[in-house]
Amino acid sequence: MSDIIVASALVKTLGSTRALSNVSMSVAKGEVIAVVGPSGCGKSTLLQVLAGLLAPDEGIVEFDGTNLYELNDNARSAVRLRHFGFAFQFGELVPELTLQENVELPLRLTGASAQEARRRSATMLEELEIGDLGDRRPTEVSGGQGQRAAIARAMVHGPSVLFADEPTGALDSKSGKGVLGALLGIARSRGTSVVIVTHDQHVADNADRVVEMRDGAVFGGIEVAE
């Protein structure tokens, strides 16, 4: 498998804390990577740097051969919009929009027609088993349902890479398993790479590779046995 993201010698300091200390890693196409480690070890920072959200102090991040941080904000945002998907602990849905409109968002913003966006978002919501909740707003559904909507939004435009930061962290065990199953199922079926930050052993067990972090450094890229 060829690498879709390559990060080399990343250094990032937040205040007086060195969040990333000479971190290098790569993400292959279609690969599911779980980033694990204790709280405050730099997992989320790594995810944000890989996703083009947070510029490193040193080092480079290449997506498909392009250094993300050599691009300006507009170009980097365009990469995120078209090629990346995001799922976070609290979903980060736009509270004023319905679930369906939230899912339509990446499609509408990349120029899809309203009809096309509606059709594809409805399909995606059905796939995540929340097709009947499309007219509700994020505050009107449960945490698990909101998280499924966030995953639908992250995947609806067919991204190359999905970044997920503790997507099941705010859910109970049963809901968490359901959400994770849906996320990984869709990603694998579409060949989408996934970088997922988690504390959940179940999540790590379902990944292709586990990257362990401690004090801002990566300590291993353990292949998970089938």
Binding site: L53, D73, F84, E92, P95, E96, L97, T110, G111
Partner: protein
């Protein structure tokens, strides 16, 4: 190009438009508040903009009805304009004589009155019908009404009174037409140079009004725009995470803000247009106007609307910038960033400019500029610096380890999350500062522009009235007035000796009529010339240097150039209410001359003058003011202050609602832990108290500095200008403490946890 717009720009515009019709109560509340703030703002600023426009229209009409009088030999219509008063209301009486069919008519007058006829303004007609005292003044037959094009304002008391030709003062010229107010020619009456014409009272008042309104309004807009800011920041952060660039997210936020602001602006505009149409006869103090005068040029309206919408978009963009720049740092409670250093810049500029303004290092013009810069920077500083001050105060208080838990909580919240609390008081602080400035302007106006007496009855003196060029018949008519004690027709001459070193006032009048000039006159016989000797204690007679038998040449008066000898006979007089020290009295009865009247009842006298001698202009009642005189300026300042403080209170209420929402979120986890509501209430009150004390101290310091600078620039006593501000600050402080307690009680009342709170927080 079209494809680029459709794919790259349109989706973000669509998103912005969609978000402004977003759902949810808070969103609806924010939309309603912002829309209402924009509407109120546009309405008030348009009202302020209308003041000079209305005033200009009034000045133009006043100019256009002014007769052009020429000293020509051809017979023609003659006019005298006389300013009078009915109680405190100014009254203008235009005496008209020798009217012919082809006589030029003033604007608003269809037919000129003949002797015994009168044409009146609608307000005067109403007053004549309603008030017997006014009816007494105008016994003439009303033959017409003056149209609005001939009147300054609907309340104006104005009359064209037809009189016999002999009643007019001698030497009144012929009316050949009226001034042409076209091409803004009327502006020449405002002053000799461009600066004087620019800085008319209405413009100065309008600019002050804009200051009163503009700054608190900006704060109010800012508070509305940033209402429920944490939710908005979360939304923008979510957009950024989806893949929006900063510019795209800004665009969608700007569209959203512009749509809401435009709706508000249009509402304010429509409201203004509707209200303006029904304001005929409305007034602020003595400033009345016609609704048709409220005609603001469309270009200015468009500019104002663009400014308000632009301001809303700008505040929104500035407030959202941190969230857009660092979307990953946005948490449930929004961005918890400390105040940035740029906020301190205005605080550095303000004292520097205010301290430099009154010094001799700068020119008078630069002084004014520095004062303006200092005041503006002070107001901006109150907005920007308060969060910093609160943060520093919170950090300092937090270091005191012996503080109770609730105080520690208040200090930590103030230090680390100062975002919304300052908003609560910023509106009030800015309003108080502006109110202080208003009082400063008011004090200056009162000091520099003495408020004119509008009614003669308000003044004890003079008990003597004077009119020039009066016939004996008119004088005899007036003598019938019960208010007249004595009346004298006289001629005043000035003589000078051969060496031109000594001069003397010479008065010609009859012995009987001399009683009007002096309190007491010694034995007198008509046809004689007397040297006047004043009673003991009155020294005038000794100072002329003229001795009996000296020859003097008359320098002024009808007998100019003739010689006369200083009489040997003397006459003793006492008192000189007339004010002219008479040295030589020549007793003879004159058919015409100046008229001096001694009065015992001024109000009755002016009524009798109006009735019996409407064409005679007496000195002393010509300083009537109307429209924007000093009183009206004070009224407008008061109205401005009221609106300013109201805006501050509205801002306070909105910020309170916002704060209530935020504290609910912040307190939810603590309540879940079992922290007593009473403790949270105390923490809330402590945090508010911290911000109000630090904010008020800052405001007080800046205002004191402003007063100091102001008094230096305008060369006024510091004590005089600062005295009215002390009660203002004391009352504001007491009021704020009460408000704080109210807010603290309201925001922590019914603090039961909802399932939503527990799930979200």
């Amino acid at each position: 190009m079209i494809a680029w717009f459709r794919n790259r720009v349109w989706p973000w515009i669509w998103l912005g438009a969609r978000l402004c019709v977003g759902s949810g109560r808070k969103m609806a509340l924010r939309t309603a508040l912002l829309g209402a703030a924009c509407a109120v703002g546009v309405f008030l600023v348009l009202a302020a903009m209308a003041v000079p426009i209305v005033s200009d229209a009034q000045l133009a009409r006043s100019y256009a009805r002014t007769p052009v009088i020429e000293e020509i030999s051809t017979p023609g219509m003659r006019m005298t304009v006389i300013h009078d008063a009915v109680g405190s209301r100014p009254l203008t009486r235009v005496a008209v004589a020798d009217v012919a069919p082809d006589s030029p008519r003033p604007p608003g007058v269809m037919v000129l009155p003949g002797p015994g006829d009168i044409i009146v303004s609608p307000a005067l007609e109403e007053l004549i019908a309603a008030d017997p005292a006014v009816r007494y003044r105008f016994p003439q037959r009303v033959v017409g009404a003056i149209g609005r094009e001939g009147l300054v304002a609907p309340d104006e008391l104005y009359a064209y009174v037809g009189v016999p030709a002999d009643d007019l003062s001698i030497g009144t010229g012929v009316v050949t037409g009226y001034r042409d107010a076209g091409n803004e020619a009327w502006k020449s009456s405002l002053g000799g140079n461009e600066l004087e014409r620019m800085l008319t009272a209405p413009r100065v008042v309008s600019a002050s009004f804009a200051l009163f309104l503009g700054l608190p309004l900006s704060v109010l807009l800012g508070i509305c725009v940033r209402f429920d800011a944490s939710r908005r920041d979360r939304r923008l952060a979510a957009l950024r995470l989806v893949g929006a660039s900063q510019r795209q997210a800004h665009l969608s936020a700007a569209v959203e803000m512009a749509v809401i602001a435009t709706a508000g602006v249009v509402a304010g505009l429509v409201l203004f247009v509707l209200v303006a149409r029904i304001t005929d006869g409305w007034h602020v103090g003595r400033f009345y106007w016609y609704a048709s005068d409220v005609a603001i040029p469309p270009s200015r309206i468009v500019l104002l609307c663009a400014l308000v919408i632009g301001l809303a978009v700008l505040v929104s963009a500035a407030g959202s910038r941190p969230a857009l720049k660092n979307p990953v740092r946005v948490r449930r409670s929004g961005m918890n960033t400390g105040p940035s250093h740029w906020r301190l810049v205005p605080l550095a500029v303000a004292p520097l400019a205010l301290l430099l303004a009154p010094t001799s290092l700068v020119t008078p013009f630069q002084r004014l500029v520095l004062l303006g810069v200092g005041i503006t920077a002070s107001v901006v500083a109150l907005v920007t610096v308060t969060p910093t001050v609160l943060s520093v105060a919170g950090k300092s208080a937090g270091r005191i380890k012996s503080l109770p838990v609730w105080a520690q909580l208040a200090a930590r919240r103030a230090a680390h999350s100062p975002a919304i609390t300052p908003k609560l008081v910023t509106g009030v602080l800015v309003s108080v500062f502006i109110a202080g400035l208003g009082m400063l302007v008011g004090t200056t106006v009162r000091e520099d522009v003495p408020v004119p007496a509008v009614s003669m009855s308000e003044t004890a003196e003079p008990a003597v009235a004077f009119a020039a060029g009066v016939t004996r018949q008119v004088a005899d008519n007036l003598r019938l007035s019960r208010a007249v004690v004595a009346a004298s027709v006289l001629q005043l001459e000035v003589g000078v000796d051969a060496k031109q070193e000594n001069n003397a006032n010479i008065v010609r009048t009859s012995c009987q009529e001399a009683a009007a000039l002096f309190e007491r006159v010694g034995p007198c016989q008509d046809g004689q010339a007397y040297r006047v000797v004043y009673a003991a204690g009155m020294e005038r007679g000794t100072n002329t240097g003229l001795k009996p038998g000296d020859a003097v040449t008359i320098q002024y008066g009808p007998r100019q150039g003739q010689s006369m000898t200083v009489p040997i006979d003397t006459i003793e007089v006492s008192g000189t209410d007339y004010g002219c020290w008479c040295d030589i009295l020549i007793t003879e009865k004159l058919d015409s001359g100046d008229l001096v009247v001694r009065l015992n009842d001024e109000d009755s006298f002016w009524a009798d003058v109006s009735r019996m001698a409407p064409a005679i202009r007496f000195q002393g009642n010509q300083d009537m003011r109307r429209g924007l005189d000093a009183d009206a300026v004070m009224t407008l300042i008061f109205v401005g202050l009221t609106i300013t403080v109201s805006l501050g209170l509205v801002a306070f209420v909105i910020a309170s609602i916002d704060r209530s929402i935020e504290s609910r979120h912040k307190d939810a986890p603590l309540l879940a832990l079992g922290v007593p509501a009473r403790m949270l209430r105390m923490a809330e009150a402590a945090q508010l108290l911290l911000v109000i004390v630090s904010g008020l101290l800052l405001g007080l310091a800046l205002l004191a500095l402003t007063v100091k600078s102001w008094s230096g620039v305008f060369d006024m006593s510091f004590d005089t200008v600062s005295a009215p501000l002390v009660p203002l600050f004391v009352s504001v402080f007491v009021g704020m403490v009460l408000l704080i307690l109210t807010v603290a009680a309201l925001t922590t009342r019914n603090r039961r946890l909802s399932p939503e709170d527990l799930r979200r927080e």
